[in-house]
């Protein structure tokens, strides 16, 4: 009477008794599409997705518009740089949210034990990881492209100086979105390898921030080259390169940051596939 659920009569399927039972639901070859549908249900049905992506949107839009307002109010000179580069801070902080979501996409399954259920339902580790990666990547890529485009439009409206070329626009929207989504994929791979949400998020935030922080404190002359390399290849600077606002003159340029990130992520994902295939769950 007080229980929130009711007892049901013992299970009686329509098929009726048979000598050896076989499921009435037809079996056919499962493929990636099913796993994609499953992963889409998973990612949209947890609150952490809404939180991380919500905060990401707030940061990207808020900081992007705020930078534009400040520049406009102060009548600052952008020195020939594209207005779109004002989106930098929003994207940098927003990428932390993407990292969190990327890690949680797989590590939360280890945290809750859901991974055992998942792999029982779909024993192909490669299919599970591919489906997670595809769903996560497309979600983040699409969202970031849309947000950066909206923010770029607002910035162009607020600050009326300089003009952005088509190339500027492409890199500041699709380029940034590809970069951020790939960074998220790297987080997903690290989450698969470490299997622990907090640990993997810490590692990824370290990857993003530590090179820059270390470089700041390298005063010794003998470390000059290393310091330079850390600056140039730190993730904040590489995002800057995509916006054409890098703090350094040498180092990666143009689309280089994206190729570097893709390479690193490919290696990490290969490790994640190997780990998922061989380790016990």
């Amino acid at each position: 009477m007080t229980t929130p659920y009711q007892q049901q009569a013992p299970y009686q399927p329509q098929g009726g008794p048979a000598a050896a039972y076989s499921s009435p639901i037809p079996v056919r070859d499962a493929h990636l599409g099913d796993a994609l549908a499953s992963e889409w249900t998973k990612i949209r049905s947890v609150r952490s997705t809404m939180w991380t992506l919500g905060v990401m949107i707030v940061l990207m839009v808020g900081l992007g518009v705020l930078s534009a307002v400040v520049v406009s109010a102060a009548d600052a000179d952008l020195e020939g740089q594209s207005v779109l580069s004002l989106g930098f801070f929003g994207v940098l902080l927003g990428s932390i949210c993407v990292i969190t979501l990327g890690v949680l996409t797989i590590a939360s399954e280890y945290g809750t034990g859901m991974i055992r259920t998942t792999l029982t339902a779909c024993p192909s580790r490669a299919r599970v990881l591919t489906a997670k990666a595809v769903v996560f990547f497309l979600l983040v890529f699409t969202l970031t492209t849309v947000i950066t485009a909206i923010v770029g439009g607002l910035q162009t409206l607020i600050v009326d100086q300089g003009s952005s070329t088509g190339e500027d626009w492409f890199r500041a929207t699709v380029g940034i979105a590809l970069y951020v989504a790939t960074l998220g994929l790297l987080s997903l791979a690290v989450g698969t390898l470490i299997r622990h949400s907090a640990g993997a998020i810490t590692v990824m935030i370290g990857v993003v921030l530590l090179p820059l922080v270390l470089a700041m404190f390298m005063f010794s002359e003998s470390l000059r080259d290393l310091q330079q390399a850390l600056f140039e290849y730190s993730i904040p600077n590489q995002i800057g390169v995509l916006y054409d606002t890098a703090v350094t003159e040498s180092g990666p340029a143009g689309w280089d940051p994206l190729w570097i990130m893709l390479g690193v992520t490919a290696v990490a994902l290969a490790g994640a596939y190997a780990s998922l295939n061989t380790r016990d769950v």
Binding site: P4, E109, T120, A121, D280
Partner: protein, 327 residues
């Protein structure tokens, strides 16, 4: 049909599962019994290809688990009631499983209905009690309407009504010709549901026998009686060649006797009996004796799990149920 062949799993220097070979046959409930830490869960995880065996193989209808397409339609498993994402609703937890095996979404509602969770289908599962978590796990096992069902300690956390329900459910499922493999550390629970029994201890196979044979070989049957005229009763019994053992609380136990014989004997001597009952037991004790050697070497279980072999069997867990079942 599940076949295990020489299944072995080592974690470092400890051997969790040691050269285990047995078959789980369709159409019956097979009980998988062993004390805590005997390797039951590790074995079940290897059957589902979650853990890689150090050596040996598991075949499900002749195939490796990874070769199964849409495995939820072959085999449903409840391993761990909490193996769900707590932030997701019960419905969505099952829906994502259904989708990965192209099970129609209508089956999700059906499975939730079977376990009686329809009312809380949209609630986040972290608010679920252990019993509700078990029901959700059972729903996920039933989702694909599979031929084989594996339950790891399914009665854990269920209320008596729930325990009764799961027993009936397992019997019904077995009657439909399905293969049911259920683990437990409670012999009494197994005695009520399983027809076939596989006992392991320390990862090794200790018994692979039908439940009837196990009961026949391992349980002692005796007659229990109480009487206000115990002294005279004992004399009478002694004269008639029965050996009565006092088991506390003024109760006498007589091995190898029938209630009819004792009752008639008491009547013919005009003795008042307050209790006269046939006792069948104690499977729990037989189980503990069988696994005693295996348990003793477990560092963490020396104290509480050590069996009390010397004490005469008092009323045991599940015993009353068994005698009522016999009646």
């Amino acid at each position: 049909m599940i076949e295990l062949e020489g299944l072995t799993k080592r974690f470092g220097s400890t051997t969790a599962v040691d050269d285990l070979s047995f078959q789980v046959r369709p159409g019956v409930v097979t009980g998988f019994l062993g004390p805590n830490g005997a390797g039951k869960s590790t074995t079940m995880r290897m059957m589902l290809d979650l853990d890689n065996p150090t050596s040996g193989t598991v075949r499900i209808d002749g195939k490796h688990y990874r070769e199964l397409e849409e495995p939820l339609k072959y085999i449903g498993a409840l391993l761990d009631a909490k193996a769900m994402h707590g932030g997701r609703s019960a419905y969505n937890n099952l829906l994502c499983l259904a989708q990965s095996n192209r099970i129609p979404a209508s089956r999700v509602a059906e499975a939730l209905d079977v376990v009686g969770l329809t009312a809380v289908a949209r609630k986040k599962t972290k608010s679920f009690s252990l019993g509700m978590g078990q029901r959700l796990g059972i729903a996920s096992a039933l989702l694909g309407d599979p031929e084989i069902l594996m339950f790891d300690e399914p009665v854990n956390g269920l209320d008596p009504e729930g325990i009764h329900w799961i027993r009936n459910l397992m019997k019904t499922l077995a009657c439909q010709g399905r293969t049911i493999f259920v683990s437990s550390h409670l012999m009494s629970e197994m005695a009520l549901t399983a027809e076939h029994l596989i006992v392991i201890g320390q990862g090794r196979l200790l018994a692979d026998t039908s439940m009837a044979d196990f009961i026949h070989e391992n349980s002692r049957s005796y007659v229990r009686l109480r009487s206000p005229q115990q002294e005279r009763l004992r004399d009478v019994l002694h004269e008639s060649g029965f050996t009565a053992v006092e088991s506390g609380n003024g109760t006498l136990e007589i091995d190898g006797a029938t209630t009819e014989a004792i009752g008639e004997l008491a009547a013919s001597h005009q003795l008042v009996l307050h209790e006269l009952s046939a006792q069948r037991a104690s499977l729990e004790e037989a189980f503990m004796q069988m696994t005693a050697g295996a348990v003793e070497y477990h560092a963490h279980s020396t104290g509480e799990a050590a069996p009390p072999p010397a004490t005469p069997p008092g009323p045991q867990w599940g015993q009353s149920y068994q005698s009522s079942k016999g009646a």
